[in-house]
């Protein structure tokens, strides 16, 4: 298939503009696009029709044609029967991807996709549908039954084990792998969304040289040439730049290469995960050490600006362990207690029992003081208020020696980490609530210094060949490094990346990177456990993995990744092919390689806190700018992912944008009011003031956003936005914070100048109103109160008793499906939202539609600030209660009310009750009066105001879950408790004539939830988990006075507050 690659990339260029329109919810634009675009007549040589085609001829025909002409020619070719046949011949694989509902046109369009031949979409289609069976059906495949494969998603110093649901060879959904340490069966929003990246039509599709399409083989030749050149001078001038690498195979490949080129250098750069933890460990122990937390064993946790529940390696596992310690079955149960000191609210901070807003730079002072208090270093003096807080915490940490835990944040400097190590050691926590292992990453080093050195060499013209494995330094390198200018001095540069991005544009060679579901590889989890990454689908385009690229420069070019991985593990298993052969199948099946978890090592401190230089506290009132990865698009690598772009960020609830986060006090001072717009309003569109930020001798214009709970003098600049070459979805969204980020102030910057402009910027915010208006929506109490009054959630609301009706009520003798959501565990991470989107084919509607209040998420996570007040309901109007409000999250799916208000008002019976108590939604009966939505007190119904679904883009067709109807324009939709999963499990159970077991049905949101907050099951079965939860006194239903009898109920949140810190 090599040659065909020469057809593709160019067209993908043109395709880019159109294929993704739909992701923007920009309906009515699809379909004839390519014809519109390339419609005009041009003389075309039709001799090609005469004789049968082979790809060589096609290439011949297309050579030196470009743009419109190129398309005309392709459309000519598309008309040629031989060409069609050729496609079948060249892509038999795709033929096998179809279930039996495909028609010829769809099939050709799929071909079109892999050739980016969307011009063929116009082909006529026969009125009858066709069945396209396999020629030779793969072994073990049963049509219509999904299969699950274990693999792992490598992600910044971690690998998250996943099970991939695959329908007839199409991966459609990711689930956590219960056997994998960093997943434990759960996942995160990013993991859930990564499947969309696989099918993203904007992905780069072919190798290019100087922007022109080239074949992989021509790159191989070039690479060998470069290698030879490098070899001749011992590798001097040969550089590799990669992200953090946790793939043992890739690591060893690179190291082997470096042995070939002794003078060559390998640099690493991860823009959003700091060097602090690395260098901190080195500072404390004299060598790089990996820290593994065991929050499950901790009774008291202090987080020093660490968002360990929602980011950084292992966070899913940590969230799981932590939530298990927040489990309350009865008032007699105990809970762990979480203290968080942080500059800006995070998911972790919001779950804290006590949270202290501290500026990022003062965290170190806090750490020093704490060290002093626990005897791990010299004492330090704190402001009175903080002092009181910290001494209470210190006291408690000491009371819980060996069962306490202090965690330092990724973005905190080495010193804080070193102090944390010292404190944990002093508290005797090492070995219980945390332990140390060898580094997980192949080659730990200070990323900042590494990149600094590379840039220096590049600047000095010392770099002949630069191979960039993933990453996007042109976009995310500190701007004082001036990476781009220096890159121009590099003689030949190679960039491997999934998109033709900011960096690719300036490199000679661009190699499209395979998605992790497309290639063989391996990766280590945060605790060292290794997994084999197996391909679930052969590459949709002509993409390659880092293994291929490194191999291309090695002495054995063109070795397949599979052989490399096999080879590495053969060596690792003591060079015994047999051992690997024996284990291989099981490794793939389980998704983990047994006994590869790193053993705990004992470290002795080679450092004392007293050796720290004197601490310079920042001037009071001085504004501090801090850089943070975005909760959705992270460092920008997910910018083109529509699901993540449209995911409301846990705290701000903003979608499609980032904003400079400011504190209410600062907002009041600068008069940065929020203006709720008439269209969409509180649920959709808020206009906020635009700020000009001058920082580090550079300038950026950003929309401001007032965030309650943020430290007064802190402004957060979230990274990852303002991409210029992200693709249709991600380009030109938000502002680019990297522009004002310099190497000397990588995380915390001061001496900036903020000027508030008089212009406004409309942000798509899905939940603006932050208080509960005294309604019983989210009920919470302190542990003490709960013990005193376990039924607190039911106070002040009188729900009508069950037998109050004049009429005879319906009974549910069989299964009664129900859900219980433990607000004590939910930390708002929003994994459920994306999981639901992926499972239920929920469309992305785009910023404009979100601003009109039309996002389609079936489950939303409401964020409330208890007791927060503001006379204008605008956090920008300051009120002390906004300084550090108690934050709660409440996932809201359809409540599946037994007395559903929506059902009674539907004129056509499109939403009615099932015999098992589900509130069925029948799309094909719905005529779209929207009466049900009006009458739904929980507002969980979603309406297809326009044609939001993409019916054209073939890649997205492949991604759809065939078990769920794809809704079209004009119909209402909503959460169904994943009825497709219920039905499939029930059918299997019935075939065996047995009842459904508890936990056999897992809804998408439930399985994704890292903190086990969501439990689904049969409420009729007293032994089911859900029934037990519903039996708890904490269990209540929202707005119970309406007597809608929701099947989804909530367990009231309980905060384990420390009475010493409660202000009188």
């Amino acid at each position: 298939m090599l040659d065909v690659s020469s057809l593709t990339g160019d067209m993908s260029d043109h395709a880019d503009d159109h294929e993704l329109r739909i992701l923007q919810g920009n309906t009515g634009q699809e379909g004839e696009h390519h014809h519109d675009e390339h419609g005009e007549e041009e003389p075309v040589d039709t001799t090609v029709r005469e004789h049968a085609l082979d790809l060589a001829t096609v290439r011949e025909k297309l050579r030196d044609k470009s743009g419109k002409q190129y398309w005309r020619t392709l459309e000519e070719l598309a008309g040629n029967p031989h060409f069609d046949e050729l496609l079948h011949r060249e892509f038999p694989r795709h033929a096998s991807e179809w279930d039996d509902a495909v028609d010829r046109r769809g099939f050709l369009k799929l071909m079109g996709a892999s050739l980016a031949l969307a011009g063929m979409a116009g082909c006529g289609m026969p009125d009858e549908k066709n069945i396209v069976p396999y020629v030779k059906q793969p072994d073990g495949m049963v049509l219509g039954r999904p299969r699950f494969y274990a693999t792992a998603m490598p992600f910044v110093g971690d690998a998250i084990g996943v099970l991939v649901e695959s329908h007839e060879g199409r991966p459609t959904k990711l689930e956590g792998n219960p056997d994998h340490p960093s997943s434990m069966g759960a996942s995160s929003a990013i993991v859930q969304a990564s499947i969309l990246n696989l099918y993203d039509p904007d992905r780069s599709q072919t190798t290019r040289f100087a922007g022109e399409i080239q074949t992989w083989s021509s790159f191989l030749e070039a690479a060998q040439g470069l290698a030879a050149a490098a070899k001749s001078q011992n590798g001097a001038g040969f550089r590799i730049l990669s992200g953090t690498i946790v793939s043992p195979t890739l690591g060893s490949q690179i190291k082997k290469l470096l042995t070939l080129f002794p003078e060559a250098k390998w640099h690493q750069w991860e823009p959003a995960s700091g060097d602090g933890s690395r260098e901190g460990a080195k500072l404390a122990f004299g060598r790089y050490v990996n820290t593994v937390l065991v929050p499950g064993k901790a009774n008291v946790i202090l987080s020093l600006d660490s968002d360990f529940l929602a980011s950084a390696p292992g966070h899913i596992a940590y969230a799981k362990q932590f939530s298990r310690r927040r489990k309350l079955d009865s008032p007699s149960d105990t809970m762990s207690r979480l203290y968080v000191a942080e500059p800006t609210p995070t998911v972790t901070g919001s779950s804290a029992d006590h949270r202290l807003p501290v500026r990022a730079s003062d965290i170190e002072l806090l750490a020093r003081a704490l060290a002093g208090k626990v005897g791990a270093g010299p004492a330090a003096t704190l402001p009175a208020e903080t002092e009181k807080w910290l001494s209470t915490v210190a006291q408690e940490l000491q009371n819980e020696r060996g069962a306490s835990l202090v965690v330092a944040g990724e973005q905190q400097p080495a010193a804080v980490h070193a102090l944390a190590h010292a404190i944990n050691a002093a508290l005797g926590n090492v070995g219980t609530t945390l332990y140390y292992t060898d580094p997980v990453e192949t080659e730990p080093e200070s990323n900042l210094e590494s990149l600094r050195q590379l840039c220096a060499d590049m600047g000095a013209g010392k770099v002949e060949t630069l191979v960039i494995l993933g990453g996007n330094p042109a976009y995310n390198a500190p701007h004082d490094f001036d990476f781009l200018e220096k890159l121009k001095k590099v003689h030949s540069s190679v960039h491997l990346s999934p998109y033709f991005d900011e960096t690719s544009a300036y490199c000679n060679w661009h190699i499209p990177e395979s998605h992790f579901l497309e290639t063989w590889s391996d990766a280590r989890a945060y605790d060292g456990t290794a997994s084999i990454i197996q391909p679930l689908i052969s590459p949709l385009y002509y993409t390659k993995s880092a293994h291929d690229v490194i191999a291309a420069f090695s002495d054995k070019p063109g070795v397949a990744p599979y052989d490399l991985v096999r080879g590495y593990w053969t060596d690792a298993m003591g060079h015994s092919e047999a051992a690997v052969e024996a284990g291989w199948k099981k490794w793939l099946n389980d998704g983990v390689i047994p006994n590869t978890k790193f053993p705990a090592i004992t470290m002795t401190s080679k450092w004392s806190a007293s050796s720290l230089p004197a601490f310079q506290a920042a001037l009071a009132g001085q504004i501090e700018f801090i850089f943070r990865p975005d909760p959705a698009v992270y460092d920008g690598r997910f910018a083109n992912n529509g699901w993540l772009q449209e995911l409301p960020k846990p705290l701000t609830k903003i979608t499609w944008d980032n904003a400079a986060l400011v504190s209410p006090k600062y907002a009041e001072k600068m008069e940065l009011e929020h203006k709720v717009m008439a269209r969409g309003g509180e649920h959709g569109q808020v206009r906020s003031r635009v700020l000009d930020i001058e920082l580090n001798s550079s300038k950026v214009t950003a929309a401001s956003w007032t965030l309650p709970g943020q430290q007064e003098d802190t402004i957060v600049l979230p990274l990852g936005y303002g991409r210029t070459r992200a693709g249709y979805t991600g380009t030109d969204k938000g502002f680019n914070a990297y522009v004002v980020r310099t190497s000397n102030a990588l995380w915390v910057a001061t001496n900036g100048k903020v000027t508030s402009t008089d212009e406004g910027y409309s942000l798509a915010c899905t939940q603006y109103h932050f208080n509960m208006e005294g309604r019983q929506l989210l009920s919470s109490a302190s542990l003490a109160e709960y013990k005193k009054n376990p039924g607190f959630a039911h106070e002040g609301v009188e729900a009508p008793p069950k037998d109050d009706s004049l009429y005879q009520e319906f009974s549910y003798p069989g299964y009664a499906w129900g859900m219980a959501i433990d607000l004590n565990k939910c930390n708002g991470c929003s994994a459920c939202v994306v999981a639901c989107q992926s499972e239920n084919n929920i469309p992305v509607v785009g910023k404009d539609q979100v601003m009109r209040g039309r996002e389609m998420h079936w489950i939303r996570v409401d964020r409330y600030y208890a007791h927060a007040e503001s006379k204008t309901n605008d956090p920008s109007t300051y009120n002390p209660s906004l300084d550090n409000p108690e934050t709660f999250f409440q996932p809201v799916p359809c409540m599946q009310c037994e007395n559903a208000p929506c059902e009674q008002v539907c004129p056509v019976g499109a939403t009615v009750h099932s015999a098992e108590g589900l509130n069925d939604m029948v799309y094909n009966r719905c005529i779209g009066t929207r009466y049900c939505s009006n009458n739904c007190p929980y507002k969980v119904r979603r309406f297809n105001f326009l044609r939001f679904q993409d019916w054209e883009t073939p890649q997205l067709k492949l991604m759809r879950n065939p078990e769920v109807t794809v809704r079209s324009r004009g119909v209402m939709e909503k959460c169904t408790y994943c009825v497709q999963r219920i039905n499939n499990v029930r059918i299997d159970a019935e075939k065996q004539n047995r009842p459904i077991r508890d936990g056999e049905i897992v809804t998408a949101c439930e399985s994704a939830c890292p903190s086990e907050a969501i439990v689904f099951g049969n409420a009729n079965d007293p032994n089911s988990r859900v029934a037990k939860l519903k039996a708890q006194q904490r269990n209540y239903s929202i707005l119970s006075e309406l007597n809608a009898r929701p099947r989804t109920t909530y367990l009231a949140a309980v905060r384990n507050t420390n009475t010493d810190l409660v202000k009188e």
């Binding site: 509960m772 005529i927 929207r930 009466y931 009006n934 105001f945 326009l946 324009r969 004009g970 119909v971």
Partner: protein, 466 residues
């Protein structure tokens, strides 16, 4: 001139010094001639042509809006979640309300034996039909899939599914279609003798044919009249409860739902009163120019305007009472959602709509207490326009404001209409006007035979029959 032997109490609207409902000196022939000539002989004036052309072009715009709507979907409007209903439903309720005056005048006043109804009932009924036509458009087009709207009718489908009769929307379907049909019948029956008149007076053959067919060969024989009157009386008797039921059912769309601001028991009476209120306002809006243009002051006298003004005043007060009760019940019940909504109406983002509504519907009509105002035709005309606006605002307040602030603060939103919302609304105004224009030139705008009867009564001091 009404007869002294009639006891005072036998006329609910008895007027001690009644002035004529018909200018004196008219004969059977003269009324017949004056009214039928408008249809038969009078040439099309510039005014009519200009007005009609304008109305027609607006209707074309309506079609454009509908075409775009069908192509793209209801998303082109301002609606969203939580505000699932916007202009479409507001307009629907407004139009259907206006559509109440006609049947009310012809039916209820007929039963109440009000002579003054005679000269206005015909075009009031016509207005009803056209208003219902405009109203009927909206429930159809506001659905996400209008081409599936037939699901709302009970027909034996291959799916074996039937409409859901607990839904007020289904009640609407039946109420509105019944109302349309009965109004049409009522109107047509009333027209029969006049069509015969036109047939007999027509000069051109084609006119004779058309009116001849429409009049079904009416001969005005005593037998005809006998059955005719009996049927007409029955229709009046049926239309009276019907007219009350229709807006009650429309109010159920809201009061049956649980949304705060919708779920109130005051709605049925207060919707009906509001309907009559806006209906009469619209009758005034139409008949004031009409009597001027076609010199019908002799038939539509000050007495008519005065009485209609009084009816507006009365219904206006009922509506005011409705507003008051909404607030009263909110605080009296202490229901936190209702209380909150009540306050939102006064202080929320849409308060200006509410105050505008109070001005139009409560303050303005108080002027009608004064005879001088009721007699001031231009002022009356302006007030009728203000009240029409006010009633539209009332529906906006009910539909939209309630939805913007319901149970879950997290889901609160706001609404603002788009170009297409306005386009569709204005379009129906055009449609209505165009139909009125066609009507006044195509059919007798005043019931001729009833006028002749009136001449008879007036000249013989005899009271109305029945």
């Amino acid at each position: 001139m009404s007869a002294p032997e009639i006891p005072l109490n036998s006329h609910p609207l008895y007027n001690p010094e009644p002035e004529p409902v018909l200018e004196p000196g008219h004969t059977y022939a003269s009324v017949t001639d004056k009214i039928s000539s408008i249809v038969l002989t009078r040439p099309l004036g510039i005014g009519w042509l200009a007005g009609f052309t304008l109305a027609f072009s607006i209707v074309m715009m309506l079609f454009a809006c509908l075409a775009w709507l069908i192509t793209k979907g209801v998303g082109i409007w301002g609606i969203n979640i939580p505000i699932g209903w916007g202009f479409a439903i507001v307009n629907f309720v407004w139009w259907i309300g206006i559509g109440h005056a006609g049947t009310l005048i012809s039916a209820i006043l007929y039963l109440l034996n009000q002579k003054w109804r005679t000269s206005i009932n015909r075009f009031a009924e016509a207005m009803t039909l056209f208003a219902v036509a405009c109203a009927g458009l909206f429930p159809l087009i506001h659905t996400g899939r209008p081409w599936m709207a037939y699901y709302m009718f009970p027909y034996p489908s291959t799916m074996g599914i039937w409409p859901q009769f607990r839904s007020p929307l289904i009640w609407d379907v039946f109420a509105v279609s019944t109302y349309g049909t009965v109004s049409l019948l009522f109107w047509y029956v009333g027209l029969l003798p006049d069509l015969a008149t036109l047939r007999d007076r027509a000069k051109q053959k084609w006119q004779q044919y058309i009116f001849g067919m429409l009049s079904m060969g009416w001969r005005g024989s005593a037998h005809h009249w006998h059955r005719y009157q009996s049927a007409y009386l029955l229709l009046a008797g049926l239309a009276t409860p019907l007219v009350l039921s229709v807006h009650t059912v429309v109010s159920f769309d809201f009061s049956v739902a649980i949304v705060p601001g919708w779920h109130t028991t005051i709605f049925p009476p207060y919707f009906v009163a509001g309907a009559i209120y806006s209906g009469f306002a619209m009758v005034l809006t139409l008949c004031i120019p009409l009597r001027k243009a076609y010199k019908l002051e002799g038939f539509i006298t000050m007495r008519h305007l005065d009485t209609m003004a009084k009816v507006m005043l009365a219904t206006g007060e009922i509506v005011a009472y409705g507003y008051f009760i909404e607030f009263f019940m909110a605080y009296y019940s202490g229901n936190k959602f209702d209380v909150f909504l009540a306050e939102q109406r006064l202080h929320g983002p849409y308060s200006h709509f509410y105050f505008a509504l109070i001005f139009c519907n409560i303050l303005t009509p108080q002027l009608l207490w004064f005879k001088s105002v009721r007699r001031n035709v231009p002022l009356l005309f302006v007030m009728s326009l203000i009240i029409n606006t006010g009633m539209w605002l009332e529906r906006f307040v009910i539909v939209v404001i309630s939805l913007t602030r319901d149970f879950m603060p997290s889901a609160w939103g706001r609404y603002s209409a788009t170009f297409w919302d306005y386009g569709t609304f204005v379009g129906t105004l055009g449609l209505f006007t165009m139909l009125i224009f066609l009507f006044v030139r195509g059919l007798p705008a005043i019931a001729i035979s009833e006028m002749r009867e009136l001449v008879h009564q007036e000249s013989h001091g005899k009271e109305g029959h029945v």
